[in-house]
Symmetry: C2
Subunit: 434 residues, 2 copies
């Protein structure tokens, strides 16, 4: 009888408790400390908590012996097995992670900005030192996707596309504009008042946060810590209420979408507002949720919806990473230095929503459609409403598939027409289809 040998990873059980230091005692740090210290998690023992301010009162009370202000001593402490970094920002977070890895610690981080920008040095050092990095918490809403890509590498799973809503602030603002008929500024103020947007909301509303998460996702997909070259990123500041209203009339919702498309190893990557079908998983996602739609190489589409942020979801993601390390499970992290190939944005074929600001006179539509004809851009739908405005009127056109380069050239030409009174608003249409 053929008798295979048992393999180690399956029969292994946790025999020692891992000693955990948490660096950063803000909201997320407090959530992690609460779980580790108050609730208690088998296999994990909190031993140190570091913050520049250890006097302030927190919702969890720790004996003074746990607290210190010296991260350097902590990351080199032989009594610490795993370092959790939840302070955010680039420095000293980067130095903390590199020092911890150099001292042979495994690390867990919630810092998406750091990984998106400095992931190369951090993941490379982890690979070299054979240490682990847990980073579920760096994109909470999408962390289950890490598992989906466990086996990926580009070779194993030639997915076709990922469309993702990865920023709860933007989704909250766009949902509010749609539901309440409010303008961008008003919806932003409301989001700030309710704690869904920071007082400086730029990183969220300009698409930077979404782009950071897309970078981390790409590193996972490609199994490479070579961070991808810059790609087009556009935020939601310029989305007008009337665009949302026209979109609704056309049965679309306006969402900020992170796009990763792949065709034969060539990637299209971008972040921009898009019209997605209202009844789709992404189109129907409201509030501060995140959502992801993935189409695999066979055309099979699956989707995922999860809270985008929040203290407990983030702290919970940190704990999951700690447990993966404590129980010696296979972890997913980018381990090679191969670079992704991005295709030229001009060659991408999309459908477009276009809102022209034109004078209300004969021949306008003819002039615009002649230019479209020249660039071989075919019109799918037109909305022009009767109006009493003397200034200019909105003319909304959706196109069939057109090359980005052609579309931009056509719009440049249209915008030079004297009957066109303002820069044409361009929003891409994505056919999300769950």
């Amino acid at each position: 009888m053929a008798q295979a040998k048992p393999t180690s990873s399956r029969t292994k059980t946790t025999t020692t408790t891992k000693k955990v230091a948490v660096i950063g005692f803000g909201n997320i740090g407090t959530g992690v400390v609460k779980l580790l210290y108050e609730k208690g998690i088998a296999g994990l023992e909190l031993v140190k908590v570091v913050d520049i301010d250890i006097k302030r009162k927190r919702p969890v009370t720790l004996p003074a012996s746990y607290l210190n202000t010296d991260w350097k001593a902590t990351v080199s402490d032989p009594g610490v097995d795993i370092v959790v970094e939840v302070i955010g920002g680039i420095e000293p977070a980067k130095s903390i992670l590199l020092a911890a890895l150099n001292h042979g610690k495994d690390v867990v981080t919630a810092n998406k900005m750091l990984l998106a920008h400095e992931g190369q040095s951090i993941f490379r050092l982890a690979s070299t030192r054979q240490r682990r990095i847990g980073f579920r918490a760096s994109f909470v809403g999408a962390h289950q996707l890490i598992h989906e890509f466990r086996q990926t590498g580009i070779a194993a799973k030639k997915f076709k596309r990922i469309y993702a809503i990865l920023n709860g602030t933007c989704n909250y603002i766009l949902s509010t504009m749609t539901r309440e008929g409010e303008g961008f500024g008003e919806a932003l103020s409301e989001a700030q008042a309710k704690g869904y947007a920071e007082s400086d909301p730029s990183d969220d509303i300009d698409g930077v946060d979404t782009a950071n998460k897309i970078r981390i996702l790409l590193a996972l997909i490609s199994n490479s810590y070579h961070m991808v070259a810059p790609f087009p990123v556009e935020g939601i500041r310029d989305i007008a209420l009337q665009d949302i209203q026209y979109a609704t009339e056309l049965d679309y919702a306006v969402k900020l979408i992170g796009v990763i498309e792949q065709n034969d190893g060539i990637f299209n990557v971008s972040v921009h507002p898009a019209l997605v079908p209202r009844a789709s998983l992404l189109g129907s996602l409201t509030g501060a949720y995140n959502g992801i739609e993935l189409e695999d190489e066979y055309g099979t589409v699956s989707g995922l919806v999860a809270p985008g942020a929040g203290t407990y979801p983030t702290a919970d993601a940190v704990i999951k990473d700690l447990l993966d390390i404590a129980e010696d499970r296979t972890m997913v992290m980018p381990k090679s230095a191969g670079a992704l190939t991005l295709g030229p944005p001009e060659a991408i074929e999309r459908r477009y929503y276009l809102r022209f600001s034109v004078v209300d006179q004969a021949g306008v539509l003819a002039r615009i459609s002649n230019i479209f004809w020249k660039y071989d851009i075919s019109i799918a739908a037109v909305i022009q409403k009767e109006t009493t405005s003397k200034e200019f009127v909105p003319l909304v056109i959706t196109t069939h598939l057109a090359k980005e380069g052609d579309l931009q050239a056509a719009i440049d030409e249209v915008d030079k027409l004297e009957v066109v009174k303002a820069r044409t608003k361009i929003i891409r249409i994505l056919n999300a289809n769950t």
Copy 2:
């Protein structure tokens, strides 16, 4: 400097190719063979394909040397490392898996009926023999959830509830009834014509298939191969078009839902049609898709949508399991014998949709509401429409939270009133909330 030792599972790379035998050369088997033989997957080599009929023409052509009809010789062949069972049904599938495990093979199966009914002996043998069972394909639409529960065990993650649409046939029928205004019979015939329902659709429409998947999910959640005691299962045969129409009017959709709720280690488990908010992830899921909504112990809700079946999604799930084995990754399988504790169904508190068939005369509503008062059941909404029918009229009531036992007792009493002319239709309301 503290220098942790590198751990084995992280640094391991695949050095040998695993030899795979596929037993069952039907649709799924053909999909798996296409991927392994035509496309080729690094680390996996197809060596045998077994079927009782090896003469029939398939969409993939294999050299005759691969094919045989003798599963017994195949599962004991020292040249086979992993046995894939994709024949379905209880026997000989059960004997094949047990024999393969006894011969030291790892196994992969797509057979949810087998695991739901005979999982105990199969998982126990795998534990004893330290072999692996891959069974993602046994609940394709939900297989990402396996990862979510990798770390679970009941102790690690006290989730509150899972509501899941796990049967594409039922979801297709209910969606069609809703969209087209068709009755159950007509929608079923359409589903059969389009290949979404079997000629004998009982397992699907009576909730058996959903219940099988819920059993497997419970085994994962509890990390126990002690299969759970029988729980209430109700299908969709008795859903009338008018119930769907009233639900729509109340802003709900009718869906067949698998329910797992947990409170302090006591589980409520059931499968039944339910009204879920139309705009929720589950309520908006149409067609043959599967969807799952999970609420964790902090009240955080996440959701997952994926195709419920189909040759390629299933074959893809089989390949993922094979890769987990080939690359020696931690796999998830129930490994203990502990039993789950189910709570008494009468104690469950739910909201209810009730459709009474009453004569159109004074005092009917008073008599029904007096009975409700007696059982302390509070009414949330009432719909009664003017009618010209002389027979009886529908009276629809939704309740606030009420104990299942009280509700059943109240309805038993109502149904004995002489003004009530048919058995009252009871559908539970679930507040899915993504």
